[in-house]
């Protein structure tokens, strides 16, 4: 049974847990990031990190070095570290400036596996690879620019700490080398290539029906790449084959994905529920969803659009407006049809914007994932509780 936490009425732009999952960094669609601490079944706000002067777009909390990186539309990123305050001696979160050198919003940030680098995607057709410069006590960046033609929407690190995958609004997913001489040891050859100076392009893959690429992810081994794009499809790339598996979905596009094992991906997006994909080098298919709307617990949820054959929004929303028009009933007072029917079948009530691994049960095997979205909810799902997609979920059709 998924754990549901309603964090706010406003959208959650990004969320990231600390190493032992007792604390959570979130941005609630504002210029500030908040650190929440878990107390029983509640998340209590503890610290506010305010330094950005525009909307925070992404947060990542490095588990072992316990550093938080935030990036924002103000073209800046900050690395936050817990340090003793010189006067009181209490631990406080102190920001360090990052010299990003980008002239458009930063869109996405991610720590490298060894936590000595991070990558900041941006609207400036560039990805800033940042490493620490101890002499000046700040983070410096090197820009990956070519051949990116548009805003970069997401990045993901290969486990070797050198390769970086990026999904971009120019309809392409790419694999780059983000090798920094001062930080990295010479990487051993992978399926993506052997000689890897900075900005080597190890792969470039277009989305089949021309959707901008929302999300990218390396498999736990790093040998496989998955990306989902706005043409409602998810693609799994085996560079050695070379084979690309494309799954076209009858539902709305996915915007975030995470690998939970070498043969499983959990992805979610505008359809408001996490989908599970499974497969191997021989082929991939949709395996079901984590949001079991047919289970008993779901019966208490309203049956919005349950009898609708086309879109799940059709029946409920249509009835709401028809009642408002012909009978002068507003959605709030209309007891019979409108009020109950404006609730979605799914647990998340709006687009899911983030899917992250929450609990590991072995090397590279994720047993629980967390999702957050525009509805202000944070949900923790058991990855193994996969149920088949059903027509009760409205728009979903299996073939």
């Amino acid at each position: 049974m998924p754990e549901v936490f309603s964090l706010s009425q406003s959208p959650i732009t990004s969320h990231s847990f600390n190493a032992d999952r007792s604390q959570l960094a979130v941005s609630l669609n504002s210029n500030d990031a908040q650190i929440l601490t878990r107390q029983g079944n509640e998340w209590v706000p503890e610290v506010t990190l305010s330094e950005h002067d525009k909307l925070i777009t992404s947060i990542d909390w490095a588990p072992s070095s316990n550093r938080i990186v935030t990036c924002s539309q103000d073209r800046n990123a900050y690395v936050w570290q817990e340090q003793p305050d010189p006067e009181t001696g209490r631990l406080v979160w102190k920001p360090t400036l990052v010299l990003l050198r980008i002239n458009r919003a930063a869109t996405y940030v991610k720590w490298s596996p060894r936590e000595d680098k991070f990558a900041v995607a941006s609207g400036a057709r560039a990805i800033a690879i940042c490493s620490f410069d101890p002499e000046n006590n700040w983070w410096v960046s090197k820009l990956l620019k070519k051949p990116i033609r548009s805003t970069v929407l997401s990045v993901d690190w290969h486990p070797n700490n050198v390769l970086l995958a990026a999904g971009s609004a120019d309809m392409k997913a790419r694999v780059f080398s983000a090798y920094i001489k001062e930080v990295d040891e010479r990487p051993s050859p992978t399926v993506w290539g052997s000689k890897l100076p900075f900005n080597t392009i190890c792969g470039e893959y277009a989305s089949p029906a021309g959707g901008w690429v929302h999300t990218v992810g390396f498999s736990p081994s790093g040998d496989v790449l998955a990306f989902a794009s706005h043409d409602s499809s998810i693609n799994i790339v085996y560079p050695g084959g070379p084979a690309i598996y494309n799954i076209r979905m009858p539902t709305l596009p996915l915007v975030s994905l995470t690998w939970t094992a070498e043969d499983t991906i959990v992805a979610a997006g505008h359809d408001c529920r996490p989908l599970v994909f499974s497969g191997s080098e021989a082929g991939w298919q949709e395996a079901g969803t984590l949001d079991d709307a047919t289970s008993k617990s779901a019966e208490s949820r309203s049956a919005f659009g349950g009898n609708s054959s086309v879109g799940r929004l059709k029946a409920g929303a249509f009835a709401t407006f028809r009642d408002a028009d012909s009978r002068g009933q507003s959605g709030i007072s209309g007891q019979t049809s409108a009020s109950g029917d404006t609730k979605l079948h799914t647990i998340h009530q709006n687009t899911i914007t983030n899917v992250r691994p929450y609990e590991y049960s072995g090397a590279g095997v994720v047993s629980k994932v967390s999702t957050s979205g525009v509805d202000g909810n944070l949900v923790i799902w058991d990855v193994n509780a996969v149920s088949a997609l059903t027509s009760r979920l409205g728009a979903a059709h299996l073939r």
Binding site: D170, G210, G211, V310, A395
Partner: protein, 163 residues
């Protein structure tokens, strides 16, 4: 207030501007070849329609359908092909009995379903033209959405390879 500056195309001063042509691969075929092809297909469709084989007729017209921008000198020719393909398709759509539509759609491949959706929208964008009948197109649209889902509509909107 002077608002003329709003109409200045600032992109021409940006040498690094993203061109439409960089976002998708252009139709590799020669326009003349495409035109010849379209004529042949129209003939094939007519004979298939005579045999009442709607799924095969639809597949013929939708597979490898011409797409892309109407570039320069080839523009007029491409336009002829586009119109011809649409005309052929409308003939098929209009002659199919509404009870047969779901079966026909289910027999199409995923690619063909996506292309069919593109043509339905193209037809709806040209009300009153030729044989375009709103109710027929909407009927097909409803049935197609039931089979291929809203994902099919999303792909129609995102795909730059417009028909």
């Amino acid at each position: 207030m002077d608002t003329a500056f709003r109409k200045i195309n600032i992109d021409i001063y940006d040498e690094d501007v993203l061109q439409d042509s960089e976002l998708y691969e252009a139709d590799p075929r020669d326009p003349a070849e495409v035109l010849e092809d379209a004529k042949q297909r129209a003939g094939m469709v007519r004979s298939l329609l005579a045999k009442n084989d709607i799924p095969a007729a639809l597949t013929v017209v939708l597979e490898n359908a011409p797409y892309g921008p109407n570039v320069d000198d080839a523009k007029a020719r491409i336009l002829v092909v586009d119109i011809m393909t649409l005309q052929t398709l409308l003939t098929i759509l209009n002659t199919t009995k509404s009870a047969d539509i779901p079966g026909v759609i289910k027999s199409l491949s995923l690619d063909t379903q996506d292309t069919l959706m593109k043509y339905l929208y193209k037809g709806m964008a040209m009300p009153g033209w030729g044989d375009v009948s709103g109710s027929v197109l909407l009927g097909w649209h409803e049935k197609l959405t039931e089979v291929a889902g809203v994902g099919c509509i999303v792909r129609t909107m995102t795909d730059r390879r417009i028909v």
